[in-house]
C-alpha cells in the first residue's frame, strides 16, 4: 500500500504544535486553563502525524468562508 500523509490532503487544515511559551501566552490571553480548550485525541490521524502527545496544544489554521483564516486551539488528550 502506498504511504501518504494526511497533512497533504487539502481538506485537512494546518496543525501546528505550540511550544510551552506559546501555550502559556495563549492561556494568558483567554484567561483559561488547558482543560477549557477544545480537545483532540492522540488517536487522531493528524496527531499521530505530527507526534502530538497528551498535554500538548495544537494550533489549527482553517480556511473560513467568512473570515478567510480562522484560528483554533485544541488540547491533545489521551484516547
Amino acid at each position: 500500500m502506498k504511504e501518504f500523509s494526511v497533512l497533504n490532503h487539502n481538506m485537512v487544515p494546518e496543525h501546528i504544535l505550540l511550544t510551552e511559551d506559546e501555550v502559556k501566552a495563549l492561556l494568558e490571553k483567554y484567561h483559561v486553563t488547558t482543560g477549557q480548550l477544545p480537545k483532540i485525541k492522540t488517536s487522531d490521524p493528524v496527531c499521530k502525524e505530527i507526534n502530538a502527545n497528551a498535554g500538548d496544544v495544537v494550533k489549527i489554521i482553517r480556511d473560513s468562508l467568512i473570515a478567510g483564516k480562522a484560528l483554533s486551539y485544541r488540547l491533545v488528550i489521551e484516547g
Binding site: 483567554y30 484567561h31 477549557q36 477544545p38 467568512i66 480562522a70 483554533s72
Partner: protein, 876 residues
C-alpha cells in the same frame, strides 16, 4: 428566617413493606369514607389521621390546619401479594435470570465478578451502566441449568400484563416473592440494583400505601352531595375485594374462587397504579369515564411534571384575538379597554406623583384610568372598590404603593407562539382602544408570523423598573427591525403597502395641491416641495415627490427594482419600465418603489435608513410609508374580480394554438420514442429521456401561454400590479388563473399512478400523451374537466401532505438545535463559551461580527462607504 438548604443527593429506591408500614399512620380497613353526620370514619379512607381538607378541622397526626398539613400516608394490608405493574417487565427479567430453586444469578462466578467490577467502576466514575446490566440479563437468560445447584431451568412465559407462566403452571405473586427472597445480595448488585434500597421482592406488593387525603380531595357539589376523587374510588374497590378475599379464604373457599379473587385484587391494584396498561380493560367510573390513575396524574403533557411543575402560568398577562390597524405605529399595540382595566403596573407613591396617584385611586377599578390595589403605609394591601376609593385616596401618602391600571405609553411585551426566534416577543407601547381585540400594525406581522384569520396573541405587563429598562433597550420593535439571521430588515411594508407605493411612485402620477395634501393627511408632517410643473396654470406634484417627503435628507441610493428585466445594456435612468431607482439627497429622482424598496426581508431603502439614520428614524419612516401607501391604495380603490382574469378572444385563440402545437410535438416525441429514434440524454434511459422531453415541451407551452395572458392583461391589472411589485402572488399564479394550469405532478414527475399501465380507465394502456398524465389545458377561470380536476386533486393533496410533514419535522429539528445551543454565550473577549467556561469557538463566527449589525451578512459594505464619502454612486 429559614436557611437555604442545598440538595446534595437524590436517592431512588423501592419502598420495602417495613417502610410502608412505618410511614403509614394508620391501617385502613373499611371502605367507607364519611359517616351519616359527614365526619370522616376512623380507619376508613378519609381517616382524620391522613390529613385534613375540611376547613375548621385539625389533622390528628400533625395538628395542622388544612393547607398546613401536608397529609400522611396510610396503608392497606393486602391479604395476598400482588405484582406492581410498573415493574412487571423487570420481574420477568429477574425471574428468567435467576435459579428457580436456589435463587442465584445464572452466571458463573468469574463472569459475575467481571460484570460486577465493571458496574462498580462505572458507578464510581458517575457514568451510566445500563448497557452492562442489559448484557448481564442477556447472558443469564441463556443458561439452561443453574451453575450452582445444577437445577434445570424452565422457560418463563410472560402474559401481559402481570401473569407469569412457568412450564404450564401459573406463577402466583407469592411464589415469585419466595424466589426473589432467595436471591443473595451480591447477585442483586449485578442487576444494577442496590440491595439496601431495592430488593426485588419489594416489587411484589404486600402492603399498599394509601396516599394522603390531600392528594385525593373530595369535592362537595352544589347539591351538597360529596363527590370522591378517582383514587378514592379505586381504593374503595381494593379494600372491598381485599375483604372478600379474606372472608372467602377463612371460610375455606375452593382454590378456583380464591384464584379468581386474587386476580381481581391484582386488577384493581394494577388500575390504581396505571389505568392505561395494555391488555387490561381500563377501570371505569359509573358514568363510563375511565378513572384517572396515579401514573396518569404524572405522565404526559398535562401531567404533574410537564403540566404543573415545568409549565408556568404567569400573572399580569392577557390573551385575545389580533386584528389589524394600519393607523397605529409599528411600535404600538392597541389594547381593549377591558384588558387595560385588569392589568396593572405597581407605582411607588412619592411627593411628585402623589396627585397623579390620587387621581388613579379616585378612579377606582371601574373608571378608567384607575387603580386596583393600594398598599398602605402600614403594609396592608387593600383592594380598591367604589365604596372605599375616596377614603383610600385621602390616606395616600409618599411611601404607599398603588397598582395603577395600564395606560397609553406603557411598555408591554407582546408574543405569538410558536416563539421560534427572538422577534417572537417584542416590546410595544400601549394604546388603549375600544372593542375586544389586540390591534397591531400589519407591518409587524412577518416577525410574529401572524395573520388575522383568528390568531391569538399574548401580552405581558412588565412589573419592575429594571424589566422596563431592559425591554426599552433590547426588545422594542424598532430595535428588532433587522434580523440577526441575515442582517437585513425583517419588518417592512407588506401586501397593500407595497402595491400602494408602487402605484404612487410608478411613472409620473400627478396630483394637484388639494390631492397632494390630502394624501399626506395621516403623516407626521405635511409638506410640499416646489411643484413639479404647471398644467394650465395650476401647479402639480408627482407621486415620487410626495414619497420623497418621507426620505431623510442626505440619503443617496441607487438600485434596480423588482421589475428590472436585467437587460443586456442597462438604460439606467432612461429605463422604459422605470425600474432603475435613484435617490439623491433624499429625493426619489427616478424608479419605482416596490418590494425591494420597502418590503420586509428585502427593502433596500428601509435597510439603508435603519443603518444610517438609526432605528427611531427608521420606525418613523416605516410608519409614514405604510400610512401614505394605504391612503394611496384607498384612493385608487384597488380591487380584483373574476373579470380581471378575462383575456380577449384572439388571445384565447393564440393560447389554444400554443397548447395544440405542444401536444402535437409531444405526439411526435412519442412516435419517435416508439420507433426507437430517440437518442437518450447523457446518464438517462430512453424512458426517462422521453418523459423529460415531454415535460420540457409542456412547460414551455405553459410559459408561452402565460406570456400571452400577461401581455393581454396589461400592467394596470390589479393582479399584475401585485405580482410585479412583489406585494402578493406571482405571474405564475396569474397564468394559471387566466391561461393554463399546466402539468400536475406527484413526486416530481408526471402522474403515473393509478391502474396497470394507465392513470385512468379513460386512456389506452401505455398512452404517454399529455392529457393521460395530468396535463391541465384549462385555466382556473375556464374551469377544469373532470379528468383534469382529478389529476389536479392528486397534485394538490401531495402538496398538502408535504407541508404537514415538513412543519413537524423542521419543528423538531429546530427544537433540538435550540436545546443544544441555548447555553452558549459570546463573552466579552469575543470567544463563544458554554456554561463551564469551555471554549467552543475562539472568535464568534470566525469574524466576531454580530449578523444583525452586519450588512446582509458582510461585516463592511465598501461600496456604501465609498458612496458616502465621495457622494458618487459606484458603477454597477
Amino acid at each position: 428566617m429559614a436557611s437555604t438548604k442545598r440538595i446534595k443527593k437524590i436517592k431512588f429506591g423501592l419502598l420495602s413493606p417495613q417502610e410502608i408500614r412505618k410511614m403509614g399512620v394508620t391501617k385502613i380497613i373499611t371502605a367507607d369514607t364519611y359517616d351519616d353526620d359527614g365526619y370522616p370514619i376512623e380507619m376508613g379512607l378519609m381517616d382524620p389521621r391522613l390529613g385534613v381538607i375540611d376547613p375548621g378541622l385539625r389533622c390528628r397526626t400533625c395538628a395542622g390546619r388544612p393547607g398546613e398539613c401536608p397529609g400522611h400516608f396510610g396503608r392497606i394490608e393486602l391479604v395476598a401479594p400482588v405484582v406492581h405493574v410498573g415493574f412487571a417487565k423487570l420481574i420477568r427479567k429477574i425471574l428468567r435470570a435467576t435459579c428457580r430453586k436456589c435463587g442465584r444469578l445464572l452466571l458463573e462466578e468469574s463472569v459475575k465478578k467481571s460484570y460486577l467490577d465493571q458496574i462498580k467502576l462505572l458507578n464510581k466514575l458517575g457514568q451510566p451502566y445500563d448497557e452492562i446490566v442489559k448484557n448481564v440479563f442477556k447472558d443469564a437468560i441463556k443458561a439452561n441449568s443453574c451453575p450452582y445447584c445444577e437445577e434445570a431451568q424452565m422457560d418463563i412465559k410472560f402474559e401481559q400484563p402481570t401473569s407469569y407462566v412457568e412450564d404450564g403452571h401459573k406463577l402466583m405473586p407469592a411464589d415469585i416473592r419466595d424466589r426473589f427472597e432467595r436471591i443473595p445480595d451480591e447477585d442483586i448488585e449485578v442487576f444494577g440494583m442496590d440491595p439496601k434500597n431495592a430488593r426485588p421482592e419489594w416489587m411484589i406488593l404486600r402492603v399498599l400505601p394509601v396516599p394522603p387525603v390531600t392528594t385525593r380531595p373530595s369535592i362537595t357539589l352544589e347539591s351538597g352531595q360529596r363527590s370522591e376523587d378517582d383514587l378514592t374510588h379505586k381504593l374503595v374497590d381494593i379494600i372491598r375485594i381485599n375483604q372478600r378475599f379474606q372472608e372467602n379464604r377463612e371460610a375455606g373457599a375452593p382454590q378456583l374462587i380464591i384464584e379468581d379473587l386474587w386476580e381481581l385484587l391484582q386488577y384493581h391494584v394494577t388500575t390504581f397504579l396505571d389505568n392505561e396498561v395494555s391488555g387490561v380493560p381500563p377501570a371505569r367510573h359509573r358514568s363510563g369515564r375511565p378513572l384517572k390513575s396515579l401514573s396518569q396524574r404524572l405522565k404526559g403533557k398535562e401531567g404533574r411534571f410537564r403540566g404543573s411543575l415545568s409549565g408556568k402560568r404567569v400573572n399580569f398577562s392577557a390573551r385575545t384575538v389580533i386584528s389589524p390597524d394600519p393607523n397605529l405605529s409599528i411600535s404600538e399595540i392597541g389594547i381593549p379597554i377591558q384588558i387595560a382595566k385588569e392589568l396593572t403596573i405597581p407605582v411607588n407613591v412619592n411627593s411628585r406623583n402623589l396627585e397623579e396617584c390620587k387621581k388613579c385611586v379616585l378612579g377606582g377599578p371601574n373608571n378608567y384610568p384607575g387603580a386596583n390595589y393600594v398598599k398602605r403605609l402600614d403594609g396592608r394591601r387593600v383592594k380598591v372598590i367604589d365604596e372605599n376609593k375616596a377614603e383610600l385616596a385621602e390616606l395616600l401618602a409618599p411611601g404607599c404603593k398603588i397598582d395603577r391600571q395600564l395606560k397609553d405609553g406603557d411598555l408591554v411585551l407582546f408574543n405569538r407562539q410558536p416563539s421560534l426566534h427572538r422577534m417572537s416577543i417584542m416590546a410595544h407601547k400601549v394604546k388603549v382602544m375600544p372593542y375586544q381585540t389586540f390591534r397591531i400594525n400589519p407591518a409587524v406581522c412577518p416577525p410574529y408570523n401572524a395573520d388575522f384569520d383568528g390568531d391569538e396573541m399574548n401580552l405581558h405587563v412588565l412589573q419592575t423598573e429594571e424589566a422596563r429598562a431592559e425591554a426599552q433597550i433590547l426588545m422594542k420593535v424598532e430595535e428588532n427591525l433587522l434580523s440577526p439571521r441575515f442582517g437585513g430588515p425583517i419588518i417592512g411594508g407588506i401586501h397593500d403597502h407595497i402595491s400602494g407605493m408602487f402605484l404612487l411612485t410608478r411613472g409620473n402620477v400627478t396630483f394637484d395641491k388639494y390631492n397632494a395634501i390630502e394624501l399626506q393627511k395621516k403623516l407626521d408632517s405635511i409638506a410640499l416641495p416646489d411643484p413639479a410643473g404647471y398644467e394650465s396654470g395650476k401647479p402639480y406634484w408627482t407621486g415620487k415627490q410626495i414619497f420623497s417627503q418621507l426620505l431623510p435628507s442626505g440619503l443617496n441610493l441607487t438600485y434596480k427594482s423588482k421589475m428590472c428585466d436585467n437587460c443586456e445594456v442597462c438604460l439606467k435612468e432612461e429605463c422604459k419600465k422605470d425600474a432603475y431607482v435613484v435617490i439623491k439627497d433624499g429625493n426619489l429622482l427616478c424608479g419605482t418603489v416596490d418590494e425591494i424598496g420597502i418590503g420586509a426581508f428585502a427593502g433596500k431603502i428601509l435597510d439603508r435608513i435603519i443603518k444610517e439614520y438609526g432605528s427611531v428614524e427608521a420606525r418613523k419612516f416605516l410608519d409614514n410609508v405604510t400610512r401614505l401607501s394605504i391612503r394611496m391604495i384607498t384612493r385608487i380603490g384597488f380591487s380584483f374580480g373574476i373579470d380581471d382574469e378575462d383575456i380577449p378572444g384572439d388571445a384565447q385563440e393564440q393560447i389554444y394554438d400554443i397548447i395544440l402545437n405542444a401536444e402535437d410535438r409531444v405526439k411526435r416525441l412519442i412516435e419517435a420514442y416508439e420507433a426507437g429514434d430517440l437518442d437518450p440524454l447523457p446518464g438517462r434511459t430512453i424512458d426517462e429521456t422521453v418523459e423529460l422531453k415531454i415535460m420540457q415541451e409542456l412547460g414551455k407551452a405553459r410559459n408561452q401561454a402565460g406570456d400571452i395572458a400577461g401581455y393581454h392583461l396589461g400592467v394596470d391589472n390589479s393582479a399584475v400590479v401585485m405580482a410585479i411589485s412583489g406585494a402578493r402572488g406571482s405571474m405564475l399564479n396569474l397564468t394559471q388563473m387566466a391561461a393554463c394550469v399546466g402539468q400536475q405532478s406527484v413526486r416530481g414527475e408526471r402522474i403515473q399512478r393509478g391502474y396497470m399501465g394507465r392513470t385512468l380507465p379513460h386512456f389506452y394502456k401505455g398512452d404517454l400523451g399529455a392529457d393521460a398524465h395530468g396535463f391541465v389545458k384549462s385555466s382556473y377561470k375556464n374551469g377544469l374537466s373532470p379528468i383534469e380536476f382529478f389529476f389536479h386533486a392528486m397534485g394538490g393533496r401531495e402538496g398538502l401532505v408535504d407541508t404537514a410533514v415538513r412543519t413537524s419535522q423542521s419543528g423538531y429539528l429546530q427544537r433540538r438545535l435550540i436545546n443544544a445551543l441555548q447555553d452558549l454565550e459570546v463573552k466579552y473577549d469575543g470567544t463563544v463559551r458554554e456554561t463551564r467556561g469551555q471554549i467552543v469557538q475562539f472568535v464568534y463566527g470566525d469574524d466576531g461580527v454580530d449578523p444583525s449589525k452586519s450588512d446582509y451578512g458582510k461585516s463592511v459594505n465598501v461600496r456604501r462607504i465609498i458612496q458616502n464619502v465621495t457622494g458618487e454612486a459606484l458603477g454597477g
